[in-house]
Symmetry: C2
Subunit: 384 residues, 2 copies
Amino acid sequence: MAIETPDSGITLAPLDVSKLKVTLTSTPKDIPPAESLKFGKTYSDHMVFITYDPATGWSDPEIKPYAPLSLDPASSCVQFCSNVFEGMKAYVGADGTPRLFRPSLNMRRLERSAARLALPPFDGDVLLELIKRLVQVERRWIPTLSGCSLYLRPTIVGTMPGFSVVPSESATLVVIASPSGPYFSGGVKPVSLLAVSDTVRAWPGGTGGHKVGGNYSPGFLPQKIAEKQGYNMVLWIFGEDKSVTEAGAMNFFVVLKRDEGGLDLITPPLDGTILPGVTRSSCLALAADPSFQKNIASSLHAHERKFTMNDILLWSKEGRLLEALCVGTAAILVSVDRIGYEGSDIFLPKCEGGLGPVGRAFREKILAIQEGKEEFGEWSVPCE
Amino acid sequence: MAIETPDSGITLAPLDVSKLKVTLTSTPKDIPPAESLKFGKTYSDHMVFITYDPATGWSDPEIKPYAPLSLDPASSCVQFCSNVFEGMKAYVGADGTPRLFRPSLNMRRLERSAARLALPPFDGDVLLELIKRLVQVERRWIPTLSGCSLYLRPTIVGTMPGFSVVPSESATLVVIASPSGPYFSGGVKPVSLLAVSDTVRAWPGGTGGHKVGGNYSPGFLPQKIAEKQGYNMVLWIFGEDKSVTEAGAMNFFVVLKRDEGGLDLITPPLDGTILPGVTRSSCLALAADPSFQKNIASSLHAHERKFTMNDILLWSKEGRLLEALCVGTAAILVSVDRIGYEGSDIFLPKCEGGLGPVGRAFREKILAIQEGKEEFGEWSVPCE
């Protein structure tokens, strides 16, 4: 599929997997033991590297040795942060086949993120083929220890130099891979959250619903402040009604006991301020699945709707707040044991092993699908 | 001043101008004629280059040949946009001395921007000395044609690799220089604005009051859409009351006729969503200065206060809206001839030469101070 630019009539080269050139490193690195792996701190030997030139389109894709990017200090990504990215994980199952988890969702989101920052368009399905090739090349880097994975980071940055505030006409697309341990060093140990409303992660009309690099660094300082106060992460509160939105860089769920029996599972709706997370979507889909429901003693009723800190306070007082869950690709799912709010702490019920029944059922199911131990629809996609 | 880190007791090296090492290029570039210069598209021969290492502090500063940055694809600035910058201009006056315009304001703002993204702290006064050295080294690059200047771009980026959403412990600080013509190719020709409220530039608790790279790329798409509809820039409207905030990447003023004689000059207040612009601050200071007032036939009353699109509509209907001005370091000041709002255009009075009396007085005064033709306080700072 060639990209026609209506203005000029020039045909620009699309991303084309058939033009892939693979150059293997002559100095492959030693692979560290899986037990020693931190999250996102070790990088594999190779990367996907492609550039976009407004005169010619996408370059022939390369898989080549991992290397620094050479970026003009005046380039769009350095100056104006025209950067978008994705987070994905490759696992290798007992059958020896590397697998990706619902990668099409990441590709669709990356297409939307790039469009939001007026970066050059690309076909995410072709990029997915290139990512699969990278996973095959880096197969030895996929940790087999349960809970570890090869974390993949597709990234697109605008490279046009210039100080006028205009879209970048050129870009670089890289995919790097990091053999990773759990996001939280404590594994499934619950995390504590500090409810923060004086700094605000996302706003209607902003970019909170897209995976845009600039959404993240403004959260560094609140994260540091939360840690100094003894909390693991920020719980982002929005607006005068103190709506609950996200936790750190993760989506957020609560599990409530219903008066009439059964459980409610609630997460804020995708109103443009919430990242449409793949794990979020997967939890909602599982909650609606009768076969999954059997893993939980009570019936589960999922809702995407707004809720506030006052709701959480009330639910906690009433004894209805059973679990609070942070979900995302990096950590999959952790539960919350404490939420700091206006100088007091809201405590969640203690659960054996750090996870309540709903959190545990989600985590185990998703991990089993990711590791190829169970099938669910076509969520687990082999890299063949 | 050494930076003590209270946690470790280690003394980290501060920015130190006495350790500056200058390495001149062996292949100096030809300087293009000033008439051909665009804004921010040509770069000089050298740059300031400094790195920060959490174990040792700031490196010995270098002025060295302009070169690409080598950045790990996993680095904080590429992934999470921990990027801050400043825009400044060097002029050379009739006395042959290069001058900067109120550079301390830029240094204080850069210190605050860096702190907002949890980047390493630095002493802006020392950085200013290094910038002056760069200007001296690049003296031949300062265009002498009026309206042209050597645009300077101090930039700090977080360089720590990693996918955890945490502050970058390492950083690179560069200052690059661009001999530049006017920001708008039309010079002082008025610009048209499209009022936009479905995308939002900045919000309370966000980073709109800081010069953070991630504030800018989300504006690329609205800018492109505005251009397609025949407008030069976006006028950023905020909230249900349709408050007017900024225009493109510039601060915004209106000039109104008073019933009782005289003029009101109004700009939105620094409530955290508005960049505290150096040109904005200069216009407000000039407006309060009796000697400047003599340049304008009417008395001028400056206000920092909120106003809305409804106010603009009303003022326009009443015939009180005399001028609308966009101000910023890059363009200094341009006037507005038309504002598109909800499908109609609000037209501003036509002015001979593209500028009304207030806009012209500001622009001419500021340019005269910048070019060293007039003195005003200590706004024009020689690079000696």
